[in-house]
């Protein structure tokens, strides 16, 4: 009887073994013909996907007109809640200092007094408009050989975090009253370019127009720039082709970023000369140009400043506040 049972057990075990063997070998036999094709992803070709980085090398080398003074002073406006940090101006200050120039800040008081004896006046991103008295002082300064450099910005949205949460404020470059007296203006929209940019669309590449003194500059990178205009001015730098203005997503152009009109220079971006950006592309040469422009200024105090009503670099009499409104 035990023998019979043993035989049956052997049959059982053999059956299990055969079933398992079929289960193990079956799929391999069935799938033998099918070969998986590896997925091809030409869209992820690194050379196509990775943007080319603009080189960030170079040093600021100023080469001012030999006729310019070896020494002098540049006054930087701090009296109109100007938004800039030490890092924003350091490369420029460094270039001026190396040329033997000193830098002074104007914070309050009589602007005419502060500008006396200076060669250039630098106004960066003021948060409050210039009052008439200050504008007259600046115009008298430029009318007597002093040079004015205005640096504006598009409207910016600043996000600040505090204990009470995050707040968003809009910042405007309040250059309208000062710049408009020189027939210049700064746009409020930022420029962007998806094809010619330093990494991202807001970091626009700008190229010299061939006019003015930006010889040797191939391209510069401006980070959050505004278009600038000047009536009868010379455009020194324009944004690369296919640049848009924020909010006008369908209009492209090459917008002026740096313009010059007589002894006034207007730039639509303050970030190109920042400590960590001034080496990108040929930004260092643009910094050098701004420094040279200021150094070459030569303010000569008029014999009697009180009665001075000289025209100053442009043909508009200073007494005129605004042009008469056309009749409606």
């Amino acid at each position: 009887m035990w023998r019979e049972l043993g035989k049956r057990l052997v049959v059982l075990v053999l059956t299990v073994a055969v079933v398992v063997a079929i289960a193990a070998g079956g799929p391999a036999l069935l799938q033998g013909e099918e070969e998986r094709e590896p997925l091809q992803n030409p869209e992820y070709e690194p050379d196509e996907v990775v943007p080319e980085t603009l080189a960030a090398t170079g040093t600021v080398e100023t080469n001012p007109d030999p006729a310019a003074d070896d020494t002098g002073t540049v006054v930087i406006d701090r009296g109109h809640s100007n938004r800039f940090t030490r890092a924003d101006i350091e490369p420029l200050v460094d270039a001026l200092v190396r040329e033997g120039y000193s830098v002074k800040f104007y914070t309050d008081g009589d602007l005419a007094t502060a500008l006396e004896g200076a060669d250039a006046f630098l106004v960066i991103d003021p948060a409050s408009e210039y009052l008439t008295g200050d504008i007259d002082d600046v115009r008298q300064f430029t009318g007597n050989g002093g040079r004015l450099v205005m640096i504006g910005e598009p409207d910016r949205t600043a996000v600040s975090a505090s204990l009470f949460g995050t707040s968003v404020t809009n910042q405007e470059s309040r250059l309208t009253t000062l710049a408009s007296r020189y027939r210049m203006s700064v746009d409020t929209q930022y420029l962007y370019n998806q094809e010619n940019a330093d990494g991202t669309f807001k970091h626009v590449v700008a190229r010299p127009t061939g006019n003015g003194g930006l010889d040797g500059v191939d391209e510069t990178a401006v980070y959050t720039a505004a278009a600038v205009t000047a009536e009868n001015g010379t455009v020194l730098l324009r944004s690369a082709p296919e640049t848009y203005k924020s909010g006008s997503d369908e209009v492209t152009g090459e917008f002026p970023v740096v313009v010059q009109r007589n002894n006034v220079l207007l730039l639509g971006d303050k970030t190109f000369m920042r400590g960590d950006r001034y080496r990108v592309a040929d930004n260092e040469q643009l910094v050098a140009y701004v420094a040279e422009f200021m150094i070459e200024g030569d303010y000569r105090a008029p014999p009697d400043a009180d009665e001075e009503a000289e025209t100053n670099g442009d043909d508009e009499p200073t007494a005129n506040e605004t042009a008469p409104m056309p009749a409606a």
Binding site: L39, P42, E48, V50, P51, Q194, G199, D276
Partner: protein, 335 residues
Amino acid sequence: MYWYTFTYAMASRIRALLTRIARSYVLFVVIGVVVGLALAPVAWNATSSEGTVAVVPVSGTIDGGTSAGVSSMLQQARSDSDVKAVVLLVNSGGGGAAASEELYLQTKRTSQEMPVITSVDASAASGAYYTIAPSDHIYAKPASTVGSVGVLATTPQALEPTTIISTTGPNKLTGGDEREFNYILESLGQAFIGAIFEQRGDRLELSRSELEQARIYSGTQAVQNGLVDSIGGRQAAVEHAADEAGLDSYNVRVMRPDGTVRFLSRSNYIASTAPEKTMVSADYLYGENPSGPVFLMVPAAYLESETNESAVAPPVAETGPTATVTAASGVSHVA
């Protein structure tokens, strides 16, 4: 006595009847019919259907979990020899960049093996659009939102290794400065746009830079600019899929992700037919204290207004895809 005789006669008659039934074929025919009817549906399906259209829902915020769930559903569809076509049923505003890329690759692989047709519910924005880009045909509804082709991330703050935190390299804390970070982000964006053009370049009416502006479009606008192929719902998508696969008669199998589906956007939440759904805050995507940059493929509108209110799920129970949106903000529509 009489009673006994009667009982005996009765019993012998029943026995005779049973014997006759047992010997005749009637019983076996009856049993055969019963068993046959029980098996009939299986046989009916086996012979009447030429194949199955698998419906794969892609709903909720695309994160690692969603990505794994959808990937596994697509893998099942590919390995099941009965599945001849896949319909992606999408209602998502996107999510993490890498998770969205994984889904893109999964859809692409599936569409190489069988027809993949997509039906867009409330939205297929950003990473969700990335997911469906390799589809053979995309249906959307007039109120669907598609597009937002781009990547967003919080720029790392400039930090300096100090005496408190020491590092072996200057970029160990932040990964790189803002300028370098933008180059990283740009390379992610270029891969995204390159993939969309690879898949739909022949149908897109938008230029590369127009697509890169990362706008959102309605379903009808998307048909015009080629981001979507036609207006239609899920039924249209299923029929189209069966047609593409050459199936005259077919089964539809809706695959379900396991677990809870989480939504960052209220409009997606309401439009979803997922069995278990919850809303999440934007923090959910960023993590509580993210140590590195988080690359997101979602429209920025999803991250702003709904951060606080989304912590509590709205009191809208199971609703169909045509639910009325009342307190929605951002990119939602009142239908």
